[in-house]
Symmetry: C2
Subunit: 310 residues, 2 copies
């Protein structure tokens, strides 16, 4: 049986790490491949809390794949700029994802499973059912954590009935009180005081090609926006440095208050007028804008930006 690596996107969040573990487990149970779950970066504080809570090992971090295997499986992403740097040198045999499809091309048919739901681990819950494979209690706890993380305890507008159903079912298997555990977990991910400016702006950032421009979009969750914007000058300086170093045209930082489900945007680079158009707002002198009710980068930030750039 051929060895394959399974991984989520770079700057991994909890779903990227957990979905890789879950899909690798499923593939191994089905005898499809000798699958190893790895990660394209170290766990963030929230994910570290989750792995510690369930006494689960931190996955091995890789940067390239072709030096180890011929074939890989992607979870929670498909765009090549969010993946290993040598994705074009390996065969993608499977994708499980809940994002738009872009910058992704294969020369062979493959297994591709995407659904417009809030979390990859929700789709994986279905895949376990369809293949009649039981979800072990510990894995159910991990997958439940990914759903809590991606949907902000089912409060994000990306949340679907499928997510609610999967979360309820996983909570039963893992025997966990979701409200209590979920809030504890989300708060563990929002202790920003120990984070550097670079960790704040780039820790969860992804790159997007929009109208020929490279747009970097980071998101940081908090229970108090002042924890972020008291450091605004230093954040702007870091974002300017990142733009220059990596050739980004624009860096957007979405600071999200997970208790009130609102965000404030900080914009560095150009074209800023497209951002104003996308969100039908005006940027302040500090190049910030309040985005009431916005909590989802994927559903509420990327699509209007894509439309405004088109």
């Amino acid at each position: 049986m051929n060895k394959q690596l399974v991984f989520g996107h770079s700057n991994p969040d909890t779903d990227a790490i957990v979905a890789a573990k879950a899909f690798a487990y499923l593939q191994n149970q089905l005898g499809v491949a000798d699958a190893e779950a790895v990660a394209l970066g170290n766990p963030n504080p929230e994910t570290a809390f989750v792995l510690a809570h369930f006494d689960e090992a931190t996955p091995r971090v890789i940067e390239t794949a072709a030096n180890e295997v011929d074939s890989v499986m992607l979870v929670d992403h498909n765009e090549s700029q969010q993946s290993v740097s040598d994705l074009d040198q390996v065969t993608v045999t499977a994708v499980v994802d809940h994002h738009r499809i872009a910058n992704f091309e294969t020369s062979q048919p493959l297994f591709y499973r995407a659904e417009p739901v809030g979390c990859t681990s929700t789709i994986l819950t279905k895949l376990f059912h369809e293949n009649n494979v039981e979800i072990p209690a510990k894995l159910a706890g991990l997958m439940l954590s990914a759903i809590v993380s991606d949907t902000l305890l089912l409060k994000s507008p990306t949340t679907t009935d499928d997510d609610r159903k999967a979360l309820e079912e996983l909570a039963k298997i893992a025997n966990i009180d979701v409200e209590t555990y979920g809030l504890e977990m989300l708060k563990a991910g929002t202790d920003l005081s120990s984070k550097s400016e670079l960790e704040l702006v780039d820790g969860d950032a992804k790159s997007f090609d929009m109208g020929g421009k490279t747009i970097r979009i980071g998101q940081v969750n908090t229970v108090d926006l002042d924890d972020v914007f008291s450091r605004e000058a230093a954040l702007v300086k870091t974002m300017e440095e990142e733009n220059q170093k990596n050739g980004y045209d624009m860096f957007l930082l979405l600071a999200t208050n997970i208790l009130s489900s609102d965000s404030r945007l900080l914009v560095v680079g150009e074209p800023k007028d497209i951002v104003e158009k996308a969100f039908n707002t005006e940027l302040s002198d500090h190049n910030t804008a309040d985005l009431p009710g916005v909590v989802s980068r994927k559903k509420q930030v990327v699509p209007p930006l894509m439309d405004a750039f088109a």
Copy 2:
């Protein structure tokens, strides 16, 4: 409920027409959308035989979608050059396919279900199960016909255990003897005498972008290769005209003997040396080459060509 059109690729084969009908039926049963199955071309003789056999209506033919709907669902294809000409002006909400993914991009998450199996209708059979929707006997007969067509009665190397299982199950529902009906159906699709040269070379053709070149690949099934190559000079002339008219760099016609499971290739245009490299063969003076054991464009022709162009 929003109206959506469901369709397979242009130059539709039996799977393209049938999969659209099956997926539209499923979506309507699930109440997901008010879905209408349409087609990007008229049925070929094989599909006409199938529709007549099951007393099923010929689908309405469309060329564009945005003049009718905001959203569409694709079956049996995803590459934009095989779809409606205005695909970029509508939202693709769902794809069910068994081909490689390329030249496909969305700005929003969507439902995407691809598996490396022999036929879209095999995947659809699974989707009916997963959603607990019964397949009516007539639809089972149509879906069974698509599997027979795409896998050449399970003889194509694209055939998987999933195709065999789906075919067996659909045969039971439709109460049909697959061997007898299947041969009759395949032969109905190979009466070439009444076909024009253009119908022969372009009737099932698809365009591919390979290394910046536009490669057109047609396939014609027959029970006697002489039925095709007795008309070689006229076929070459038609392929030359098509190249010029449509800006194709190269036109390949794969003539497949469905009884012996062999093919002969006819090549018009450049670069021919890439074709020789792809199939490790030499083209004759007539720019033909025998390809023993080759019956699948998708699995045995496109991938080696893609590799040779890369």
